[in-house]
Symmetry: C2
Subunit: 341 residues, 2 copies
Amino acid sequence: MQERQTGLPFDDIRALIRTMPGPDEAAVAAVRARDGELTKPPGALGRLEQIVEWLAAWQGRHPPNVSRAVTAVFAGNHGVVAQGVTAFPQDVTRQMVANFQTGGAAVNQICNTFDVGLKVFELALDIPTRDITTDAALDEDECAATFAYGMEAIAGGCDLLCIGEMGIGNTTIAAAVGHALYGGNALDWTGPGTGLDEQGIARKARAVERAVAFHGDHIHDPLEVLRRVGGREIAAMAGAVLAARMERIPVLLDGYVATAAAAILHAMSTTALDHCMAAHKSAEPAHGAMLERLGLSPLLDLGMRLGEGSGAALAVGIVKAAVNTHAGMATFTEAGVSEKS
Amino acid sequence: MQERQTGLPFDDIRALIRTMPGPDEAAVAAVRARDGELTKPPGALGRLEQIVEWLAAWQGRHPPNVSRAVTAVFAGNHGVVAQGVTAFPQDVTRQMVANFQTGGAAVNQICNTFDVGLKVFELALDIPTRDITTDAALDEDECAATFAYGMEAIAGGCDLLCIGEMGIGNTTIAAAVGHALYGGNALDWTGPGTGLDEQGIARKARAVERAVAFHGDHIHDPLEVLRRVGGREIAAMAGAVLAARMERIPVLLDGYVATAAAAILHAMSTTALDHCMAAHKSAEPAHGAMLERLGLSPLLDLGMRLGEGSGAALAVGIVKAAVNTHAGMATFTEAGVSEKS
């Protein structure tokens, strides 16, 4: 077993968490003031109104704008696949990265539909993380470096960041993160992933249970959970979410694995995900429970369980409609519409 | 009380219902065959896959296409507002029609976001229907003529039709239709509409109860429900939905009032809405129960309760993403991705 390394890297992450900016309350107030004048009954646009408030709070401006949305997809490989926890072979991670790059994946089509940019981050696919049932996935330097690399997701600028992933074996990793952070039974956090049968799910849950038991005493620190039972795309996504917060970029989280990455930050600070919205609720059974732990209410619930940022990119359409509605609607005065009697 | 008129008009509608086309099973089979080859685990796109099958079934082609989506908004006025059932004055119906026409309403911005056309149908706004608590809303000729006018929604062509409405007082009408078709208590079908308080809702429910009791024996025929406790936009929307079916145009239903119009057709034939999808579940409390009666599962649940086709137009984004995903994704062979082990 890998010994825990001490040093600056994790401390740098902790320092960022302590200096996260808060919401821009003045921008929120400006949204509410204008919303009350728009030609509709108060509250009649439901979550579209909340989306606009959230964007304004975290972009720090009124009106908020979404003209440069980006989906960042992080791909990693996992030693835990040796435990027979996956329906597809590990080669598929690299093959799907190539598919993203040539425009053939689902997320490409969804991004194109809503004019969302796509960035793919390959994370040392030839060097899978170590098998979490018998070792720490990463040492601290690797983990912190991957976290820092994930922060590059926002390089070049964007005004809305969608977080997604690809990685054969990574729903096992997400389950281990969930089980490590929240307890319960390993099976509570384990699902079919890309298509395991009941027997496969039971085997996967046993691997999750063994992993969390193995690391036992060391996983009270969320960053230790990340490096011991996590993986590269989880670390990078956590970095991307935190970088977005520092730069006032709202984040749409995709499915179970992206949410597990966000959960690491939430375990470090309960306000760390205030700039995030859950784009959708995945069909992966434990996703709903994890979102509840994080206090996130998903925008969409369409039975999707693909990952690769597909649900997050899909939600950009809803977000853009919300922004356009707030910006473009006439007020009661402008339209000569009578207000509530 | 108005006597029931007999004659051809309603018989023409019944004849159309008897000759509705069914789904194109060959097109559905073609969707499934291609879907099984796309670079994703089977079923991983959830309802996006079902949307594509549904479009293919009712457009009668593979691949289905959505490049000319149209939102049709039907506006009517209602004598029942004399019963104090609304939060906004009746003038607002006409004022909002003007707002649609000048591009200032929520539905305009949402349609623009997803490149959806917008058509507004004004239905004799200066001649509100008769008060349903003491009279039939329409006579048979008026009702059938309005139904036929609604069928014009598809004139000029479209490949996806969103059905919406505007009409101060029309959630009372929708509640009366629900109560007449499905029984229960009037209050089960009555909600706040544009913003009634508890006292207002109780008053509205009493009006619904009186209306349905008044027409009592006459409302076993769905078309009698339509003309007696319905209204012009309800009749026109029912016509639009049926016309779309005859011309193989899939339909997205908006909220409670649009769904009540569709319910009239469903009461005439349980297969009459097979070409329709519920775009969203409104915050109007009875909408969910009505959707359940119709066997429709809403795509979105965003707490919206605006009407005017806003929820239906919003769902077009989801539908377009589904179409693009099916059409544009690479197959396993094309992308060189390994299949499930």
